[in-house]
Symmetry: C2
Subunit: 374 residues, 2 copies
């Protein structure tokens, strides 16, 4: 019996790979029934040492009550676990646990655990079934939806991986209660992004309700559900990112470059913070190019500041190494074709678009002006 806790369900319409995202406070306690209903006989929970200490016992107990044989695999917390070596260890642990193709790998954690465990599930026995239990706001609104999995290479982040859709995502919004405020803010950058892409009403709602979301009111479930629905719609249109899915990269070309120039040092900048600066820059750049009204760029910046997110290069502790380093980092992240890059730009709040052929020279001039102004 599925427990009667209020839950919202978002379906990701991917044909034979379609799946549900279930969102609500306390739904982890119904994980046994929901995962058990998938018909596997065993589950391997992959988590990290920090998240596992908080939530693994509860999840494992629920799965066991539903009659599943439960195995646990834990990795050190942090981006360092998205490595070839940890991937190999997780794959071997899944095999040692005698998890078969019809069994299930459950990722319990944030984006790192989801990407790592999802990739392992994609390749062990050429594909094992997979369930996500995201424990950060960022993972609930972004990384657990859409099937991108992978690890990092010395040549860059997420450069080795697979598309592997989960069969179920359980986003228990109560798990976010133990999250540090900085992590909530970082996840918020990816939440408000859906408003900025194509939903101005959701941006207005975010601006009015972000405090309630942070505090854990029912608004939190709404924010997660709207975000998942928005991402699900884009992914359903373009699973393999040959078109529209690129819109989800709003703020990410600037953002990835910033993460790279600070050496992926989480003390200086975490992903959501880099995306916040990147989105503010994408709107300011769009405004300086005459594409977007200046008041829309200001509205974006004002909101992000109110939340406590950075929006300017000058806010990066220790600096960003100069405009040349930033432009070089962008060129390493994205393919430069004939001196131009593809960016996500905006004609206004909720009116983002894929801009191909943005001259690198224009970006450089914009960044020089930004860094002089700051």
């Amino acid at each position: 019996m599925i427990s009667t806790i209020d839950a919202q369900v978002v379906n990701v319409a991917l044909g034979e790979r379609a799946y549900d995202i279930v969102i609500g406070r306390g739904i982890i306690d119904g994980a046994g029934e929901r995962v058990g209903a998938l018909g596997a006989s065993a589950a391997a929970i992959v988590t990290d040492d920090a998240v596992g200490a908080l939530h693994c016992e509860r999840l494992a107990a629920g799965l066991a009550r539903a009659g599943l044989r439960v195995e646990r695999i834990s990795v050190p917390p942090g981006e360092g676990s998205k490595s070839y070596a940890t991937l190999a260890r997780v794959c071997d642990s899944i095999l040692a646990a005698r998890i078969e193709r019809g069994d299930i790998v459950v990722a319990l954690g944030g984006g790192v655990v989801g990407d790592l465990a999802g990739f392992a599930a994609a390749i062990v026995r050429r594909g094992i079934r997979f369930v996500q239990v995201p424990t950060t706001l960022l993972a609930q609104v972004d990384s657990s939806v859409g099937g991108k999995t992978g690890v990092n290479s010395v040549h860059g982040k997420n450069l080795v991986g697979a598309f592997h859709q989960p069969e179920l995502v359980l986003a228990d919004t109560a798990l976010l209660d133990t999250l540090p405020a900085r992590e909530i803010r970082a996840g918020w950058a990816e939440t408000v992004k859906y408003g900025l892409i194509d939903d101005p009403a959701f941006f207005a709602w975010c601006d009015a309700n972000w405090r309630a979301v942070f505090e854990g009111g029912p608004e939190r479930d709404h924010a997660v559900a709207v975000s998942c629905r928005s991402k699900a719609a884009i992914v359903a249109r373009d699973e393999r990112e040959t078109g529209d899915r690129a819109l989800l990269n709003l703020g990410h070309t600037f953002g990835h470059a910033l993460e790279r120039v600070v050496g992926y040092d989480p003390a200086r900048l975490i992903h959501g913070e880099a995306v916040a600066i990147g989105m503010a820059q994408a709107f300011r750049f769009s405004s300086t190019q005459g594409l977007c009204p200046p008041q829309d760029a200001e509205a974006v910046e004002t909101h992000l500041r109110a939340v406590g997110l950075p929006t300017r290069l000058s806010e990066i502790p220790g600096g960003f190494g100069g405009v040349d380093a930033l432009v070089d980092a962008m060129a390493q992240d994205k393919k430069v074709v004939a001196g131009a890059l593809t960016f996500i730009l905006a004609r206004g709040v909720g009116a983002s678009f894929i801009a191909r052929g943005v001259p690198v020279g224009d970006i450089r001039a914009f960044l020089l002006a930004e860094s002089a102004k700051d």
Copy 2:
């Protein structure tokens, strides 16, 4: 312009993942035109040090003439390269060579290189285009067709991998001229297998023509083409091995167990030799169970012996460690359900079928009788 060398083309009908296998003597010299026609701007050739010394220069020169930027990545020869560590090195080398998703990874080698390079192509940037240039008979008739790629785990062979179909397979049968006789024989076991599965006329042809195939006559091209067509038809019906594709495992449950008990020592047994013993055993077991006429089991054994392949446990140098070890190895390779295994058995030459629920006790009794007789 595609060169005018006589070539046979087998299409693998996998919808949007359909591709051609081009078979003929000397077709590697037309690789530039054929790979160039795929529209990539760069190619990374992945090979091993032994095969690379023989054939890489010629392939690279052809690709370069077709205007492709060519990078070379080489790994040590042998099964040891199907490891996590070598996979990581190949992935990083592909990234270092700035191969993009629209570019091409070319696997030049036998099954090890094909499985390794194909898996790297499957996961770098979540999927790069892929071309196979198989250089062994085994790879030309079996491992380069069907999209299975992967590496080995301490828990078993090929347990980590992906389905990743090539866009083109170039089977140059002249490359087999430099192959040791033992390798040709081993590949022959997988060739004649297609006759034993469902094509008695091809088995008869194999029995009449194997010498000409080994010597490199036009019969060689025919044998490769029939084998590829046969595997392609099965793969097209069942890409992910949920049904009929299991027929391709004829001889492989016994064979894998034999490889395991000799510690995968190629001095004692290579894959095709293990499959030869396994096919002979599958037919003898079918005969003792009253499923298959004894003369069909004898015909299989007579043919394999004539070719110079082993058919009996007693032919394994150093022995096989006893029946219990063999049965244990089978249980580790395949899932034992209620004391029974799935085997490919036969009602006669060209009449193989998937037999579910074969009691492990019957297999043990058969193996005890075989080892007493030998």
